[in-house]
């Protein structure tokens, strides 16, 4: 099946007073309809900039998408005009953000915001648009949707606001949903609800989801394929089961052994005083990357070859690629 | 880094060109004011009927007013008055306002409530009207003009500082200081006050501009600095209505002076705020 979204060689930079920041370097991936691709990494890895680049929401200047293509059902989003992109945003590709409070307009009712979204892209009468808005609120499992449609964002809880954002994003049944840390700001029980909701709606609408997160648990639960990013580059890519079972890149291995696990689910008994495996050091600044592998300074296996040149991203196992000289 | 003041200055000029520009403007005016008697080419007070309304020329570089007095010299001496009044009023008003805002924000409770209501009442009266009322009741004199301009400043500054203090008070590092057993007094001075200094300085320099304008307006209306002190505002008031078409230099040059000082102080204030933020220091 042809992928719905095909990103190839995407590179985004920022021109700052402190030099050129290579936020995203040569990132490629593809997502099929009904599939969830997770892009995972920590702060400064470039995952959010990647998401914004897909949506062409990067402020230019100081940002600049210097290379690559983003093909949505064959059409390269980076080449269309601004006006065409605006038509595509929301109707073909939509985004939800981490902080629902800042992403929703505090002065408009929730229903009005969905209506606005719908009437922007489809030729519906006011009443039809309003009906669609209430229908979407119901779809995202907000109880009493007609009443809630008349409420303002500040009257709602964080979880509910996130549901509204999802309703807005999916109101026009886009082919791709880009979700940037959609549950990071939510409580654990609400996070579970929202992730289930996104999954259910995805199955119902056949939406392709690009999920940006730093939480490996969320990745394991929701994604089919995973891209791991570090300092602006892709360092590993694989189907989710394969990635967790046989991580090839030392960064991914390091991450997996440094997160504490809820032991009861695995029937393990965690004795106190057991140390977590640490990854020493910090992510390098993006305007001052080391000449070789960006992870080199923190890598337990680093060699001179690693310090000299950045490793190519290549296939290590069937359907499993990584950028490492040593695996 | 033990480099001399010259390279420090060059560094400042590179990082804050606008601020240095503002500082230069202010310095020029302040120096002119301080050394007025030396710098001014002619006596600002001596009248000369034959030179009345002389246009700008070799003798009267900025022209002469209706009494034959040299505009340039009056401007330079007027700088002394206008700047003294503006700086004095700003310092007085900001100082009291900041102290009140700090106390009000930090102590809270009924003290805060009362101060707030008072400030609201004071602010609901326009700056100029308040200044007018105070000068009119206290009588025109240099000192009273300074007081009259300072008083309406107090609630403005107090409110801004208070809201800063309110948010600072909640920050974890203030709580952490209290957790180590520091007295409230010390926490306020060591932790809260320095973090309000930057906004205070910017506010004060912005107010400087507005106090100059207020002084000019008061003098324009005859309620500010009394005769014989030359004041930019009064220079405008004496000439604006009657002579603006026939002798425009009487209006242009004082107006320009006022504008330049306000502009310079604003630029300086913005740059100071950035320079004082340790986050910008590298």
């Amino acid at each position: 099946m042809a992928p719905v979204l095909e990103v190839s060689g995407l590179s985004t930079v920022f021109h700052t007073r402190r030099g050129l920041v290579r936020a995203v370097q040569d990132v490629s991936f593809s997502v099929e309809a009904g599939e969830t691709l997770a892009i995972v990494g920590e702060s400064g890895c470039g995952k959010t900039i990647t998401a914004l680049s897909l949506m062409r929401l990067i402020p230019m200047p100081p940002g600049e998408i210097t290379a690559g293509s983003v093909r949505l059902v064959g059409k390269d989003l980076l080449k269309v005009s601004d006006a065409d992109m605006r038509k595509l945003r929301g109707s073909q590709i939509a985004m939800i953000f981490q902080e629902p409070m800042t992403a929703l307009n505090p002065l408009l009712t929730v229903g009005r915001q969905i209506v606005e979204m719908v009437t922007l892209h489809e030729n519906l009468s006011r009443s039809a648009a309003r009906r669609r808005a209430v229908e979407m609120l119901e779809r995202v499992r907000i109880p009493e949707p007609e009443r809630r449609a008349r409420e303002y964002p500040h009257q709602m809880s964080g979880g509910m606001r996130q549901r509204v954002m999802i309703a807005m994003a999916l109101a026009c049944r886009p082919k791709v949903l880009v979700a940037d840390e959609p549950t990071t700001a939510l409580d654990v029980t609400i996070q579970a609800q929202i992730l289930d909701l996104i999954g259910d709606l995805q199955r119902e609408f056949g939406t392709a989801v690009v999920l940006i997160t730093h939480d490996l648990g969320v990745v394991a639960e929701t994604a089919q394929r995973v891209v791991v990013m570090y300092a602006g580059r892709k360092v590993e890519e694989a189907p989710v089961g394969e990635l967790f079972a046989r991580p090839q890149h030392p960064y991914m291995r390091g991450l997996l052994s440094s997160i504490p696990l809820v032991g009861s689910a695995r029937g393990l008994n965690i004795a106190p005083d057991m140390r977590l495996q640490e990854i020493p050091g910090m992510v390098p600044p993006l305007n001052d990357l080391p000449p070789g592998c960006a992870f080199g300074p923190r890598c337990p296996l680093v060699t001179d070859r690693c310090r000299a040149a950045p490793p190519p991203f290549e296939r290590k196992r069937p359907d499993h690629s990584a950028a490492c000289w040593l695996s | 880094m033990n480099t001399g003041w010259w390279s420090d200055l060059r560094y400042l000029m590179r990082r804050y060109p606008l601020g240095v520009g503002g500082a230069v403007i202010m310095t020029v005016f302040v120096l002119a004011a301080m050394f007025a008697s030396v710098v001014a080419p002619l006596d600002p007070f001596s009248t000369n009927a034959r030179a009345s309304l002389a246009p700008p020329g070799s003798k009267y570089l900025m022209g002469a007013d209706m009494m034959g007095r040299d505009v340039l010299s009056r401007l330079i001496h007027g700088a002394r008055i206008s700047l003294a009044v503006a700086m004095g009023a700003t310092a007085l008003g900001s100082g009291f306002g900041a102290a009140l805002g700090l106390a009000s924000g930090y102590i809270g409770g009924w003290f805060d409530l009362i101060v707030q209501r008072l400030a609201e009442v004071m602010q609901s009266l326009p700056l100029l009207v308040m200044a007018l009322v105070i000068t009119a009741s206290l009588g025109p004199s240099l000192g009273n003009t300074i007081i009259a301009i300072a008083i309406p400043l107090i609630p403005n500054v107090a409110r801004v500082i208070r809201s800063n203090v309110l948010s600072l008070r909640e920050l974890p590092f203030v709580e952490a200081a209290k957790a180590t057993g520091m007295s409230e007094w010390r926490v306020a001075i060591v932790h809260v006050l320095p973090n309000t200094l930057a906004p205070l300085i910017v506010l004060a320099t912005a107010q400087l501009g507005s106090t100059i304008l207020t002084e000019a307006s008061l003098s324009f209306l005859g309620l500010g600095v009394p005769e014989p002190y030359p004041s930019w505002g009064r220079m405008l008031s004496e000439s604006a209505a009657e002579y603006v078409r026939t002798a425009p230099w009487l209006v242009i040059y004082p107006g320009l002076a006022i504008s330049l000082v306000v502009f310079g102080s604003n630029l300086l204030g913005d740059a100071l705020r950035d320079a004082l933020d340790p986050r910008q220091r590298d």
Partner: protein, 320 residues
Amino acid sequence: MEPLIEVTDLRKFYPVQKGILGRTVGQVHAVDGISFSIGVGETLGLVGESGCGKSTVGRAVLRLIEPTSGAIKVRGQDITHLPKAAMRPLRRQMQIVFQDPFSSLNPRIRAGEIVGEPLKVHGVGDKVERAERVAQLFARVGLRPQQMRNYPHQFSGGQRQRVSIARALALDPGFIVADEPVSALDVSIQAQVINLLMDLQRDAKLSYLFISHNLAVVEHIAHRVAVMYLGRIVEYADKATLFAAPLHPYTEALLAAVPIPDPALKRQKQHVGGDVPSPINPPTGCHFHPRCRYAEARCRVESPLLREVAPGHTVACHLR
């Protein structure tokens, strides 16, 4: 052995004010009768979601917020009503580390001075001795002494937390309240700071009240765990028991909701619905009943008390 910290029936209510004159029309029960104890060298994990009151508990125990009622004992001494002057020397024994590495440090003061300030406040040593102690503390938390001259903005988030920890350690306290100390940090840095906290505990026999919403981290670092919901403790047990065999429906729901980083283990799909309630308008009876799958009529009406159902394991539920 006598516990280091003993909290009994702690309550903190906030008045709800309406109208111009600010009349009090009600109370928010932010903390509604909490009791626990922490031994020397022990960590109590306090878990819960937003609005449950766990941060308030942490601050109330240190008397950074004044409790409305209840008792707090440190080494047997009741500190609940001590006047400020008497509290001061006691503050040397109990310190706090906050969640946000950015606002925990005064941006205008150098890191070395920040860490040395508690020493200055209590008149410990002269300038030279203090500088030495600060250098020691920096080394202890894994920072270089040269970094003492830096301002907070020159550090990364993880390093700032280390500075906060160094500040908390300055006076050699026996007890530290850690309020979400790693929640704002990147995952790979979290491990560093968690390890640091555990090392410090082992070396100095520190006790922690570790407040967090992250169950995995709590399971790693705590000895005993208390689960809070809307101002009350709903379950309180040692770590192994709580995570292996939770009794309270809310604890079950929490554990079921945590995403597990292992795609081979899918968690069950049925999740507790509803929103995390706000303490301003709590449900009647058992606070959890609107979201509880086992709720009965009794749960709506009567508030369950914490009962010991097994040695060292207390639960507040009618059905257990």
